[in-house]
Symmetry: C2
Subunit: 147 residues, 2 copies
DNA sequence: CTGCAACTTGAAGTGAACTTCAACTCAAGG
DNA sequence: CCTTGAGTTGAAGTTCACTTCAAGTTGCAG
């Protein structure tokens, strides 16, 4: 089994065929085609999909994921080193996000519980990078606790 | 200044007036009205909004936030104790989410970098509780590292 | 060769969380 | 009193990340 059909990819990755087609339209994924125009994926694409899923977990939009994936070589199958570089970048993102949530955790009870609370003292703000999550409205991040 | 207008609330909370009206339609917020039908908020509502923002940060949908807020007393201004109870619940959510992301972090480089990778070994799965984030598609969570 | 599950496409639909718009009313300073 | 910035409504629009649909095509097992 050299290549995988879209159905097989869906089964192995847990991502619906419709989503895989959507990712392709959005430029996150590319599949070779058979003579009859059916998609054929390589096993390496599973790694790509895993990356997409993980990045989404971290709260990154498909737009940003596309940009990140663009850093992978197009002419050859990405090597272990290529992926390491990319993942260490996201690892950074992840660390930041974790740190943010830890600060949130450490302040939550105190802030919400007491009269002080809130947007003033807890300094929930909207930074330029919206790591937080997709969604239209303003996204916020908890500032380092400094009060 | 006893009560706050919608504009003042927006300024103080960082949430747009349109969003505050939306929250009211969705039953997350309630404002008194002037004779002329304009909204007047109490300072306590800032706490409510802070809670909404924080819960969103954690990846909870407005639906679930509404349900949580329903546990607050309706007849009186929530006390410190009321808020503490609620926030400790979310603190739990937050802890879980942090733990999930830490597992993700610990496995990311190894999983993505090496040939093994992926959806098999890294066991990214879709649990019954979609803490993760809003969004339509299947949401996943990283299982406790057990390989 | 046939049958049928699995694939193809473009277009339209979905749900969450808002925003924008048009037309109108209110409230507060001068 | 009058002006003007802020507020009101319902309806429609937007973005993201997909899914669903209809109508047609492909590929493999028997």
């Amino acid at each position: 089994m050299e290549t995988l059909t879209i159905g097989e990819m869906a089964a192995r990755s847990g991502v619906a065929p419709s989503a895989l087609r959507y990712y392709e339209r959005e430029g996150l994924l590319h599949a070779a085609r058979t003579g009859g125009n059916q998609r054929r994926y390589e096993r390496a694409d599973l790694r790509r999909i895993a990356f997409i899923k993980i990045a989404q977990q971290v709260g990154v939009s498909l737009d940003e994921i596309r940009e990140a994936l663009a850093e992978l070589p197009e002419n050859r199958t990405p090597t272990k080193a290529d992926w390491s570089r990319l993942s260490s970048h996201w690892r950074h993102r992840l660390e930041e996000r974790i740190a943010m949530m830890e600060r949130l955790r450490d302040q939550l009870t105190g802030c919400i519980g007491c009269g002080c609370l809130s947007l003033q003292r807890c300094t929930l703000i909207n930074p330029r990078d919206r790591l937080a999550s997709r969604g239209t409205g303003p996204q916020m991040i908890l500032n380092p606790p400094r009060d």
